[in-house]
Symmetry: C2
Amino acid sequence: MPDTQSPTRKRIIDAATRLFYAEGIGRVSVDAIAEKAGLTKRTLYYHFKSKDDLIAAYLDGRDQPNLQQIAGWFDAAQGGADRKVEAIFSNLARVARHPKWKGCGFLRTAAELASMPGHPAVKVGSRHKSNFETWLAGELSGHDIKEPQALAREIVLLIDGCFSIMLIHRNPDYIEAAGRAAATLVRARSRNND
Amino acid sequence: MPDTQSPTRKRIIDAATRLFYAEGIGRVSVDAIAEKAGLTKRTLYYHFKSKDDLIAAYLDGRDQPNLQQIAGWFDAAQGGADRKVEAIFSNLARVARHPKWKGCGFLRTAAELASMPGHPAVKVGSRHKSNFETWLAGELSGHDIKEPQALAREIVLLIDGCFSIMLIHRNPDYIEAAGRAAATLVRARSRNND
DNA sequence: TTATGTATACCGACTAGTGAATATACACAA
DNA sequence: TTGTGTATATTCACTAGTCGGTATACATAA
């Protein structure tokens, strides 16, 4: 049984992460990942039992980094909950301008695997999105919001709407619009707005 | 030059539509489409110069049907703008329960083609989404809304957020939540709510 | 000896796209 | 009416390459 902490395994996931995110899981071959990682395909298959497993490992490795990036933006923003939520969107608009930005890897993978709803990678994505929603609800509950869980879900919908529509229009104006909508929803549920 | 109105061409697009939507563009081979259409691959390549062209034709054929389905839901709903908008979401939740439902073909195609932003199919998708946003803004402007275009964009973001997140969680509750959020945004911009 | 890790070489199935031939239909001239 | 030319539409057989995955062998270390 291969060592799940091995540096070789990590090298493979790093290579897979860069290629899968840049090109999409269907357009990247196992050969290409092995070459990028500087080893042979047979070695890759020693550490992962299938490409599907590797896809799930790729997303699993993005769970915490992605979550903590957004948490960092939220924490750093000044002001009330509406301003902190809006900061998520303005930072998103900033990074989305980078030419290498290709949307949300979790959503893109789920879109590619739409015909395989039980795929392990989709489950990893589902867990990640739930983690994020739960984290956001927790943050909002400290800001005098009436129904923090319902609000968190609405904001998540706007964030994922941004990710998707940006891949079609490539126009960051949509992210700004989503940020304003999110702020409106926050204020609609703020206690001091009664 | 092939006839762009030919019934054979239509048969090919019909077959492509069913397969591409069910499996995703990357998982469907040109051979499979030809077989489904009941002709040979060489004939398919007489009518379309490449698979990429066929993908664009598939989405182009979905523009009006998709738009008119949602317009039908909107028109049939009773009540003010908030109720009509909410009707879009409740109908969406209904059809999303069907086992063959696989999200929005435009968004899924854009996700698969994220590494090729100038792909003709992405342009067709962009035009479709703009058409929808424009139609919705027009409808809203007849309902005493302050900034119908800005509101239409916010609702579009919620709709596309539903499409995406549904592929991850497969839980229609998210669509209901989006509907309530949309209704909140509508009321926030209604003149009679000042 | 046994477990872990890596390499070369290969498999059968599938991929998008093409070359060459042919079937069909209609126009026009003898 | 018959023969010929031409554009459209279709088929069979094929190319050159890629796909995920594996059989076999070898090295190193406990």
